[in-house]
């Protein structure tokens, strides 16, 4: 298993670079990388035995492979494979496939490392690969959005580095366990870095613009897996060290509520999905013991949603209401929306029940409000009109916003095959993942989410359907993002000290 692990770690990077030498085989090679990860993650989940690896003697790289990491790796593999299917017939160049594969490899690395420096390297490679993917269309806007992302994440990682050396100062080791007994400023600095990187609470306000202005496959990758590279270490710290646990849970509830609050007022489909990511990440952190399963279901569902919304004729929910979408898209959209709202039969239900069971008493009210809000704003997608007029799929006149053209550009019918293959993988995964926690299907467990969803829809029809409030986006400006980082650093310091 050790040899297999090492081969598996190196494989995406190796293939990512060889793709350049064999441009004709780019898609096949890229898909092989994703499939290899799927197989490996399944092995990890079946064996259930944690593997600890210590490479290169005492101060070397430490890796920890356990079922928690297995879930995250599995998510990563499935989402990456779905993105490859989606892009199969598109005009994406070899460069794109190589970058996605390198991103895949570095996200995998972030999920398995158990020391601060390996994590730093993995996260920085993720930043670079993500920047290149965001800036892939080479338009001014995409470059600015990418630069903004790179700035925010690099400044965050510099804080993280200072925190890492403070841990080293205290323990003469960079391992995660060193966080126990580390000075409070070290914990605060490391958390500032990871919270920003993972898009949590106020430090995560860079996320909506970045995720909504990228191309659909890139948004799917970012929301599905890339942000989880920042979340995963937080969940791991919470499980390793008792004192950290309440802080992580607190940020879980905070970000769940913040994301929901913004999302219910949102009128743009892609932005709404991005804000929903901010809130769903809260569900992952709110109960770190069961983070893996929730991350899996969220990764699949969010990737599917971004890919579907990218195919719709418009991003504006108001316009979509007067413009019926093809019924087959609507069915896919409804399956995904039901799963994220926690409807039984889909694994989003099991994940939500499991998370709710593992909450502490003080979290329950907050998380229930967040769940209610989630079903409220997903009602916006579920109750969109649909019909089988094929011509509506390809808008004849150019859309008002420049970006809309690139995100929902009409693709030739042959590309439909790739899209449905991706949907089959992601939505099929949602059905199949039910086996992980089939104990959830009791009468009491089933009734509660149904009630929540019904109440959410009621609120939607009574209040939010007519409401047109536009929340200010002031806090998403670049300077404010950096400023908020310093404020959250101070706040975290006092939280750790308390």
């Amino acid at each position: 298993m050790t040899t297999l692990t090492l081969i598996w770690i190196v494989f995406p990077f190796l293939v990512g670079f060889t793709i350049y030498l064999l441009p004709r085989l780019d898609r096949v090679l890229a898909l092989t990388g994703a499939i290899f990860s799927t197989v490996y993650a399944s092995l990890l989940l079946i064996e259930q035995v944690p593997i600890t690896l210590k490479l290169l003697d005492n101060f070397g790289v430490t890796l920890l492979l356990d079922p928690l990491a297995g879930f995250f790796i599995f998510t990563n593999a499935l989402v990456t494979a779905a993105v490859f299917f989606y892009c199969w017939r598109s005009d994406k160049t070899t460069f794109f496939y190589a970058q996605v594969l390198i991103l895949h490899g570095s996200v995998n690395a972030a999920f398995i490392c158990a020391d601060f420096i390996s994590l730093y390297v993995a996260l920085e490679v993720i930043s670079i690969a993500t920047f290149l993917l965001i800036a892939y269309p080479r338009t001014d806007r995409s470059i600015w959005v990418g630069l903004r992302y790179l700035f925010v994440s690099n400044v965050a990682m510099l804080f993280y580095l200072v925190g890492a050396v403070l841990v080293y100062k205290a323990h003469h080791s960079f391992e995660f366990t060193g966080l126990q007994g580390a000075p409070p400023e070290a914990v605060a600095l490391i958390f500032t870095g990871l919270l920003t990187k993972g898009g949590i609470f106020v430090s995560g306000l860079w996320l909506p613009l970045t995720h909504s202005e990228s191309e659909s496959p890139v948004s799917a990758l970012m929301s599905g897996v890339v942000v989880k590279a920042g979340i995963f270490p937080l969940a791991r710290f919470a499980l390793l060290i008792e004192e950290i646990d309440p802080i992580v849970r607190f940020f879980g509830v905070g970000t769940a509520l913040l994301g929901v609050f913004y999302a219910v007022f949102e009128k743009d489909a892609k932005r709404m999905l991005a804000l929903s990511t901010v809130s769903q990440l809260g569900f992952i952190l709110a109960a770190p013991e069961v983070a893996g399963f929730y991350a899996l279901t969220h990764g699949l569902v969010k990737a599917a949603l971004f890919l579907i919304v990218g195919k719709l004729p418009s991003r504006n929910l108001q316009e979509l209401r007067s413009q019926p979408m093809p019924t087959q898209f609507w069915i896919a959209l409804v399956i995904a929306s039901f799963s994220i709202s926690g409807f039984p039969l889909l694994s989003g239900f099991g994940a939500k029940v499991l998370t709710m069971k593992n909450l502490l008493p003080w979290q329950v009210i907050g998380m229930n409000i967040a769940a209610l809000g989630t079903s409220t704003f997903f009602a916006k997608l579920i109750f969109l009109p649909h019909g089988n007029q094929q011509h509506k799929l390809f808008p004849t006149q150019p859309l008002p916003q420049e970006q809309n053209i690139s995100t929902s550009s009409p693709l030739p019918p042959s590309s439909q095959f790739g899209f449905w293959a991706a949907m089959l993988l992601l939505l099929g995964g949602l059905f199949a993942a039910n086996v992980v926690y089939y104990e959830a299907y009791t009468l009491e467990n089933t009734l509660k989410p149904l009630g929540t969803i019904f109440l959410g829809w009621l609120i939607y029809f009574l209040i939010f359907r007519q409401l047109s409030v536009k929340l200010p986006r002031m806090f998403e400006q670049f300077e404010h993002l950096i400023g908020v980082m310093s404020l959250s650093l101070i706040a975290l310091f006092w939280m750790v000290l308390a």
Partner: protein, 111 residues
Amino acid sequence: MLEAFVLITILIGFLGVLFKKNLIMKIISMDVMSTGVVAYYVVVSAREGLFTPIITDSPSGTYADPVPQAVILTAIVIGFSIQALMLVGAIKLAKDNPTLETREIEQSNTP
């Protein structure tokens, strides 16, 4: 004392990222910040001694800690490549925004 100066460097870099209006100046400020971080690693590794940790016939006793130095080398390389990437981005943006004022760029590029 040395530690305080290093931390001040990091702070100055951070404030530069926050308050400088020009994109290039922001990128340079970020470099100042990362230089501060690198210096901090060096200061930490030199806490217990200054000698290069190589085994010789006459051990001096006070060796510098090699681990943080080795580690920060990776961070320097990563920082350098990110810097390069950002400057390429700035070059591309400069075609349509010759002044490179971040506020202007932001206004014309957010929906």
